[in-house]
């Protein structure tokens, strides 16, 4: 049995896996363990992608993408399963393996990818930038956000923010790793406690005004909201404190709509544009033997009311 202790990230696994595969070590002969010294993750530069001692192995690029994402998961079994899949795809001769969504190990890989994909997507959605100032030299606006992802996804999620917010300086702080953009390049630093992040933003009140008024009290669907925006995110969303009251008031608001007396239609005002519309609506004289239809097939045939 070979024991491999790696820093918990994709490049470390890939380097080790290449070497083990080169030595022909079967999956059951390897014991994978996360290095508990997580701090070293930030102290060392990323290893070279291709190690000189390991032979080149051909695997589908789709697998590398799936493996990179699965590596961000926290399940301690991920390294061993990734190596088993790598083995099966190469020395095991199952080149078509990824086509088998019915295979339990492929399925597990896809499940991890789904969780990671969802975590990244929620980070893209629920990060809230707070303006902290304007750089005196560059005149660029500066923003800071706090987010608590479920998995180690900061590096996977950061390029999106670079593309979207290239014109401003920003930092996204999380408990285990922080991402920063200064207009030139992305860089990463160790995690910080929440107290390092600003609490609110001067725009939050206006945003809450919008949130409150775009809500339709006549169609409350709380489960639909919570399945997409689970409560665990609420503590970092400035609009979330409104939710309880909006729900509590909705029945009364609908009742008052129903209690409002119905309003009759008022006569059309004297307006040149409305008159021109009515003139366009006048039906042309019907050709003999044809009525004016209605519905999608009809042309301009419609009587002015």
């Amino acid at each position: 049995m070979r024991s491999v202790v790696i820093k918990p990230e994709y490049h470390a696994w890939r380097t080790a896996a290449r070497q083990l595969l080169g030595q022909g070590l079967a999956p059951q002969e390897v014991l994978w363990t996360d290095d508990p010294q997580e701090a070293s993750l930030f102290a060392e530069p990323e290893p070279e992608p291709a190690s000189a001692t390991a032979p080149a192995v051909k695997v589908p690029t789709a697998f590398l993408d799936l493996a990179r994402r699965a590596a961000a998961h926290t399940d301690p079994q991920r390294w061993a399963l990734l190596y088993r899949l790598l083995w099966r795809l190469t020395l095991g001769g199952e080149r078509h393996l990824l086509s088998l969504a019915t295979d339990p190990e492929v399925r597990q890989l896809q499940d991890w990818n789904k969780s990671i994909g969802r975590d990244i997507h929620k980070m893209h959605a629920f990060v809230r930038f707070r303006k902290v100032g304007v750089d005196a030299a560059t005149h660029r606006e500066q923003f800071v956000a706090w987010f608590e992802p479920d998995f180690r996804i900061v590096r996977l999620a950061a390029p999106f923010f670079e593309k979207r917010f290239a014109g401003m300086d920003w930092s996204i702080l999380t408990p285990y790793e922080c991402a920063h953009w200064d207009g030139q390049q992305l860089h990463f630093t160790p995690g910080v406690p929440r107290s390092q992040a600003p609490d609110g933003d001067v725009l939050d009140d206006l945003w809450r005004t919008y949130y409150k008024n775009i809500f339709n009290p006549a169609r409350v669907k709380i489960n639909a909201m919570q399945s997409e925006m689970p409560k665990k995110y609420w503590k970092n969303l400035p609009e979330a404190p409104l939710i309880a009251d909006l729900i509590a008031e909705s029945a009364g608001r609908v009742q008052s709509m129903l209690d409002t007396p119905e309003r009759p239609a008022l006569p059309a005002p004297h307006n040149a544009y409305l008159q021109s519309l009515r003139a366009r609506d006048q039906p042309p004289p019907p050709p003999p033997g044809e009525g004016t239809g209605s519905g999608l097939e009809s042309s301009e045939g419609r009587t002015a009311s």
Partner: protein, 429 residues
Amino acid sequence: MDVARKLEILADAAKYDASCASSGAARKDSRGSAGVGSTGGAGICHSYTPDGRCVSLLKVLMTNACLYDCHYCINRRSSNVARARFTPAEVVQLTLDFYKRNYIEGLFLSSGIIRSADHTMELVIEVARLLREEHHFRGYIHLKTIPEASPSLIALAGRYADRISINVELPSQQSLDTLAPEKNLARTEIAMEHIREKIDERYAEKRPPGAPKPPPFATGQSTQMLVGADASTDASILGCANKLYTAHRLRRVYYSAFSPIPQPSSLLPLKAPPLIREHRLYQADWLLRFYDFKVEEIANPSAPHLDLALDPKLSWALRNRESFPIDVNQAPRERLLRIPGLGVRNVERILSARRFTRLRLTDLVRLRLQMKKLLPFILTDDHHPAKLGLDSDSLRARFLPPPQQLELTFDSPPTPGPSDFLSVRSGEL
């Protein structure tokens, strides 16, 4: 009036438009510019309100003053709702401020019609122009257009926007004549046709040699239909949607169940339709777009309404028992797509897996399919539905929601929710 008060009125006025899509735009981003914004990926829902709808765009009206008198609309001229009007600069500032905080990923701008169609379009376009040209904004912009506006203004709107839309609102001119007397379906279709030509021109695969590339244009158009405000049947609504998808290649048709509004009109029905009807229409819409169903298979003159108790695919399968069982190891793609409980993605998984293996029930369980729904309709080496012994009636009963349990307790009655109130006006329970 300050911007916050305007935002209250003009967001409230915009909430009845169901469109929220922010995907499907051409790929662009802010790298190398002084601005912000990116589009082209999957749409992002930045928040959800307790009505279950997502907030992805700042959805507001330029003004809610309106010359038209559409009776289902809170902003019609006969309503006495509070009125407000944004300046283009105010909408631009709100959009940028919200965007930079990652509250939203774009702007959905519509407007009541004031003075004339062209005047209104010019106001809306000015916001988009300022965002794109003065602020280098590369986020998503959806502009509502007015069919009667000049083609040159619609072209300009399309140049700045990622998505443009015109709401048909109701599926026939007859319905519009009663509830929205200023609206004209034929003119709407002419405008959609014109927009489609612009889109085709811009994204044509091949151009004549030497021909210049046409100016940028939105990648798609969409529309909305109101459900339950008049007597239109599901067959007529889906027929209209299908025509718009095929004739004008709309990206999306949104269905919006009419819901009570403040300032109700005397021409409106007393009772709102059940929200499940809207849901069934969306399911049917999916069958039309992704499952190769024909409208007549889902709803037709002899059965004009969708079954509210069962989803339309299952409903079709129960009416067409002779098409089943379907062999998951043999059937072609188009037949697999007809199996209730089997979605497009799992059909692809089955097709790709069965090139290498024969699928058994345990394989389907591993795909986490809805086995209870699937079993009566499929065949595998180790399963034939005949052994379930289900005739048509018991099969339908198998899928109906369980009857509500009547509980006798001495507790206080449950607190009524909004849906209980919807029936109050008509005295129905």
